[in-house]
């Protein structure tokens, strides 16, 4: 609180030149853009998201339209021409003559889509549970936290694996499995943030004003709990994408009709041993780029949003 107030008191001494006003958001943007590494991560991430969104426009061929595939072109190394001589397979082809570059664009779509959907759903669930625990306190709180602790003592991959073993394959099922594996992180983060915020004066003031509990929780408590949650959510998107890829690689995640990056890597696995590296390697590079880009952004977000490190 004191730190928040400080800049306005000392504002005249280092007031920004021109008509810039030092709002918290501008300060956040300024801090964030200061790191070259984080900006690189953000740029890479935007590029990957664009590739995913524009996959049908960018891809040289539709990798899942069987009429466009030619078995003669199967397992060609990167840079080969197709049999008709009309296009170049820049990243090679897989065992069905599919252009890997196009397959990666479409795979990015599925990987990012599943990761974001699972994160949003887990965030919503964790938010509700965590806020409930912090707001009600007492027995509700200790009950919820006992469940959270119990779940967190098991690795996420094990929980997801068990659920998929019981539920079977499918996009909806893998999202359920990822949510089940991750909601507890959010619940714990929200609860601890909310417990700190709850004791502050503005919440007391809000309840003195006679505001309804719903309004206090959602309009006053929630916005102030967001910064740590944003950091956790960013890290968890990367974790969700990696987990989905792992599960798909193991043959438990997505069905063959929804080829995410993990499934593409899994398809090329058998050819890796005979030296045809490109079928697994390039989807893996795309997966890696996605995870590293998100982590770079998340890492710097953590520094920027952490009040203890704020100048």
């Amino acid at each position: 609180m004191d730190r928040e107030a400080l800049p306005s008191i000392t504002a005249p001494t280092h007031a920004p030149v021109g008509n810039d006003v030092d709002t918290p958001f501008r300060r956040f943007v300024g801090d964030f853009t200061a790191s070259k590494l984080a900006m690189f991560g953000l740029g890479l991430l935007v590029l990957l998201i664009l590739c995913a969104l524009l996959a049908p426009l960018l891809s040289p061929q539709n990798p899942y339209d069987l009429s466009q595939l030619d078995v003669v072109d199967s397992r060609l190394p990167p840079g080969s021409k197709n049999s008709a001589g009309t296009m170049t397979y820049w990243l090679g082809t897989d065992d069905q003559g599919r252009d890997m570059l196009s397959a990666i664009f479409y795979g990015l779509r599925i990987s990012l889509g599943v990761g974001v959907a699972a994160t949003l759903a887990a965030l919503a669930l964790g938010l509700a549970v965590g806020l409930a625990a912090a707001y009600f306190g007492g027995r509700v709180d200790s009950m919820i936290m006992r469940i959270v602790d119990m779940q967190l003592s098991f690795p996420a991959i094990l929980i997801a694996l068990v659920l998929l073993a019981l539920l079977g394959q499918g996009v909806d099922k893998i999202v359920i499995a990822l949510v089940a594996a991750q909601w507890a992180y959010y619940a714990r983060t929200v609860r601890s943030a909310a417990l700190v915020e709850r004791r502050k004066e503005y919440i007391e003031a809000a309840s003195c004003l006679g505001l309804s509990p719903g309004r206090i929780v959602f309009r006053h408590l929630l916005p102030n709990c967001l910064p740590p949650l944003i950091v956790v959510a960013t890290v968890q998107v990367a974790a969700a994408i990696a987990l989905e890829a792992t599960l798909s690689f193991l043959g438990l995640g997505l069905p063959i009709t929804e080829p995410s990056l993990g499934l593409l890597i899994s398809n090329g696995y058998t050819y890796l041993l005979s030296g045809k590296y490109w079928i697994s390697f390039f989807p893996g590079v795309a997966l890696l780029a996605t995870i590293v880009a998100i982590n770079l952004v998340a890492d710097h977000l953590r520094d920027v949003l952490n009040p203890r490190l704020q100048r």
């Binding site: 690795p155 991959i157 998929l164 073993a165 193991l250 697994s280 890696l288």
Partner: protein, 323 residues
């Protein structure tokens, strides 16, 4: 202390009971237990006999009692794929997984603590920074992808190490192990390295953070003022004080190493429990899946219990806080 131990053990038993109830509900109440526990290829007479033997004609609460009773005696039915008791199939694979997990832990500790110390002592040097970058990569790269790259580099391109399987084993106290002969150890190196990476990254971070904190403490300044050599200050005074959190985390991580062995074993075709569970899921060998779940749940609860007890022995404040 005794009261704490007893209470902690009772808590673990409650958690075990809750988890067994969850597994029971998942397997028996959601799915059709007749389909789940009895081989679909069995004929009608076999099915009836099996339904009776498993007690599936009894009311649900009685079935849960039977399930518990069977679980305690290790009876989870016969594996469809191997036609022997499911628990036997798992116990047969367990040494391979335990060896892999132990080797991974050893690699993590032996490399992680010195690297972490170095990075903590020289946080601004190029070497310190590259160690930290390495640890970030260890955290964020998916295990299976690193495994594939290890195979691609060391098996396919360089041809130094075998890419899959366990190779020859020798008996040590009646347990088959790989690491005693070079022929066997060759098969262990790649999977163990792969499995070690996450823990290596974690141990580097913990050690580095602990070292940086310890260096600012008065006892380190005092040790230096006494004129002790740098080796002694770091090797004895600093190291001793940062070990407690590291030991705790290593203990807790052993469970997740066994869980992550599922991925590594699948990549390297290492014949352990993790590969077994994936194979079993793929062929719907449900008795093995149920048995694996119960064993892994029991294992995790046991690890948590041991770590908690150890921690309370090392740091009495933990016990007081819980009382």
């Amino acid at each position: 202390m005794l009261v704490y131990i007893v209470r902690r053990i009772l808590q673990s038993l409650v958690v075990l009971l809750v988890m067994s109830l969850l597994v029971f509900v998942a397997v028996y109440a959601i799915g059709n237990p007749v389909d789940i526990m009895i081989n679909p290829q069995a004929d009608q007479a076999d099915r009836d006999a099996a339904i009776h033997a498993l007690g599936l004609d009894k009311p649900l609460w009685e079935q849960y009692g039977l399930f518990l009773q069977h679980a305690v005696t290790g009876n989870f039915g016969k594996s469809f794929a191997y036609n022997v008791s499911a628990i036997e199939v798992i116990f047969e694979r367990m040494p391979a997984t335990l060896e892999l997990a132990t080797a991974a832990m050893v690699i993590g500790i032996v490399l992680g603590i010195p690297l972490g110390l170095w990075a903590g002592l020289k946080p601004d040097s190029a070497s310190g920074k590259s160690i930290m970058t390495l640890s970030i990569l260890g955290f964020s790269l998916p295990t299976f992808w690193v495994g594939l790259m290890l195979i691609m580099t060391f098996s396919v391109w360089l041809g130094w190490l075998p890419s899959s399987g366990r190779g020859p084993t020798t008996e040590l106290l009646g347990v088959p192990v790989s690491f005693l002969t070079w022929e066997g150890a060759k098969y262990l190196i790649l999977p163990a390295t792969n499995l070690a990476l996450f823990n290596l990254a974690l141990i580097i971070r913990l050690t580095r953070a602990g070292t940086r904190e310890a260096l600012m403490q008065d006892y380190v300044k005092f040790a230096r003022a006494k004129g002790l050599s740098n080796t002694r200050v770091v090797g004895v005074h600093v190291l001793k004080n940062i070990l407690i959190p590291i030991v705790t985390v290593i203990g807790l991580q052993f469970g997740s190493v066994i869980a992550f062995a599922i991925v590594t074993e699948s990549v390297f075709a290492w014949p352990g429990m993790g590969k077994l569970i994936i194979d079993s899921i793929n062929v719907l060998d449900r008795p093995v899946i149920v048995a694996y779940l119960m064993i892994i749940v029991a294992l995790f609860i046991l690890i948590n219990l041991v770590v908690d007890l150890l921690y309370s022995a090392l740091d009495p404040r933990v016990r007081l806080a819980d009382a």
